[in-house]
């Protein structure tokens, strides 16, 4: 359907739209209560198992600098692989799988909070949306900086 290099998973956190390279995404699953790990910071609310693989849940609202909220019907986990890391990104909604033309990407707006800007490779306009492009290694680096 898409050239793999251009396919992105579009999701929402708070009122913002983000996109992850689809190659890093293994599965989307409905929210379920994660198993809490004693002593873990609130940004890592627990672990879950999907198809025999242990995923560490990451509250992306907290990672991106938003306030935490209770899960709703649209809340999903984006199961994300990067190197040896297996993360379940808790997002407010998964919107679409889209093809993005990265040659049209723009620089990160200077007004964007640092908590978000550090994760991004740029922003791109798609239909009437301004989408923030997440760079997986930077996402991991930001997570490690938080824990």
């Amino acid at each position: 359907m898409f050239d793999q290099a251009e396919a992105y998973l579009l999701f929402r956190v708070a009122d913002e739209q983000y996109a992850l390279p689809s190659g890093s995404v293994h599965e989307i699953v409905r929210w379920q209560a994660a198993v809490p790990v004693p002593g873990a910071p609130t940004i890592l609310p627990g672990i879950l198992v999907q198809r025999g693989v242990v995923y560490t849940v990451v509250d992306t609202r907290l990672l991106f600098g938003f306030a935490a909220t209770a899960p709703e019907r649209a809340t999903r986990y984006v199961l994300f692989h990067e190197d040896e890391h297996r993360l379940a990104l808790l997002v407010d909604a998964v919107l679409d799988l889209i093809a993005l033309d990265l040659t049209l990407s723009e620089a990160i707006p200077a007004t964007l909070p640092v908590a978000q800007a550090r994760l991004l490779r740029g922003v791109v306009r798609h239909t009437d949306l301004l989408i923030a492009l997440i760079e997986p290694p930077e996402l991991l680096a930001a997570l490690y900086a938080e824990v």
């Binding site: 198993v35 809490p36 004693p38 002593g39 873990a40 672990i47 879950l48 560490t56 040896e84 824990v147």
Partner: protein
Amino acid sequence: MSATEPHLLASSILRMRLGAQIFLANHTHVAQLLPVARLRDMHDERGQPMQQIRLPDLLQSTPAPVHHALLVTTRRRTVALLVTAVDLWVQPSDVVPVIQPLPPVLRRALTHAWITGILITDGQPLLLLNLRQIAQDALKQAAQGEREQRGQPIQ
């Protein structure tokens, strides 16, 4: 025990409940299992009342009742770790005994080495507790508290 310790045998795993959450532990860490009521008249090696640590208070955000005590011997003393209940001693046929290490980001995030691995059973992850480490840290914390009360410097 560490994340690199060879896989435990399923027969050596103890399953316990803290409130609604189930945890596992290596039963070789437990010297004795008994009802909490029996601790009343027990003393440790120093002749002092047995130190009691409520694991739900230590590991969870919501309080939970405790009914069973796990006596764990550290290098210096024996400590009673209180849990809601010990469900069963897992038999080898019940579970595939593969303990997975904690994910790297969690290993980095945790301040104590109290959880050493994860066992997946019935599709659910169960956390393996290091009871000896918990007992040692609890004793250290209690000793520091006593020193602070006496106004002595903390080492």
